[in-house]
């Protein structure tokens, strides 16, 4: 798939839509990342957890995507002669699981498996994200434990580049 140059004024919304579709859709035969929910902030995660508590058949891991500082580089011209700017997208992906996800499995083992599967998905299928170039996803370096409500999470750092047409 040829990578696109975004023309959207609000590329952040577009970015979330593309990521959500990518994460929640099976990308190929070897994509073993399970069905999950997509969240953009704390409240989104909290609401999803409360909803899952009332709908036990829909218990899944949650992938929360947080936007970090994403510098925009100077204007340049692409091969078509259009003026574009490169945006260095920095994101933090949190995989969040409650104690109901794969009950009986140790949280640390479960999160490590999920992180590994998510990284494989990005490493091998990132071409399916229309605007994302030079994509890299780290592995987590620890597990975050929110004792009070039985929620565990781990963080993966995602980097990508987007080219934005200058109007």
């Amino acid at each position: 798939m040829e990578k696109l140059i975004t023309q959207a004024k609000n590329f952040i919304n577009n970015m979330h839509e593309e990521l959500q579709t990518f994460i929640m859709t099976k990308q190929g035969e070897n994509d073993d990342f399970p069905d999950s929910w997509y969240a953009i902030d704390f409240d989104d995660v909290q609401n999803t957890v409360e909803w899952m508590n009332q709908n036990p058949d829909n218990v899944r891991p949650i992938v929360q995507v947080m936007e970090l500082d994403s510098p925009v580089t100077n204007k340049t011209r692409d091969s078509q002669g259009d003026t574009v700017q490169k945006i260095n997208i920095n994101l933090a992906l949190y995989i969040v699981v409650t104690d109901k996800v794969q009950e009986g499995t140790k949280r640390k083992i479960l999160l490590n498996e999920l992180a590994s599967e998510l990284k494989y998905k990005f490493d091998n299928y990132y071409m399916n994200i229309p605007h994302f170039r030079r994509v890299s996803l780290s592995l987590p370096n620890g597990i975050l434990n929110r004792d009070s409500d039985g929620m565990y999470s781990c963080r993966l750092d995602l980097y990508a580049e987007i080219y934005k047409k200058v109007r």
């Binding site: 704390f42 970090l68 994403s70 920095n90 933090a92 929110r146 009070s148 980097y159 990508a160 580049e161």
Partner: protein
Amino acid sequence: MIKIDIDIPDLDELMIRLQLLREQLDEDGLKQYLDLLMGDGDVSVSATLQANIYDMVYNSPVEMIAGNNYKVNTEPTHYQRTGALLDAVRAEVKGNNLHLYIDDNYLAGQESPGTLETGTATNMNETPYSLRVENDFVYENAQGVDVLRKGSKYMQKTYEELKLQIMQGRKNPKTILMPLLGMWKN
């Protein structure tokens, strides 16, 4: 032995110009390197600080000692409500320096009473909010008991991480020479 004298009247000026050019290249190269550190996927200074604030301040238990009692506040939303610390992260290149800091002026306008805990703390203004969260901080609560809030050390961790990433060569300064070296390829 044959000695040849060559008269180059502008040699001194040429040497001065070369020296100035070298200094200019050093300065430009450093600036370009600092720009790369701002965020190109290998090292991203402000993104690293933001992620650590999110993990260590908003998403981790807070240890407290109230009088003689030790407690851990595991309520995940303890510091979530404001989000001000996250919004106050600033990174900029000025001259030959990269500045990564928390904008305390911005925070001063965001802070509301009861950010730490409802109490009678009179020493809130002595230390900026960013440092009260980073380091251990003592204040007096509503019962007149001194409370120690253990520091989250988000800045310290960020500094250690960035130092390690650069020392490990995740962003090699030679990267900025690659376009130049590319001229001799093929």
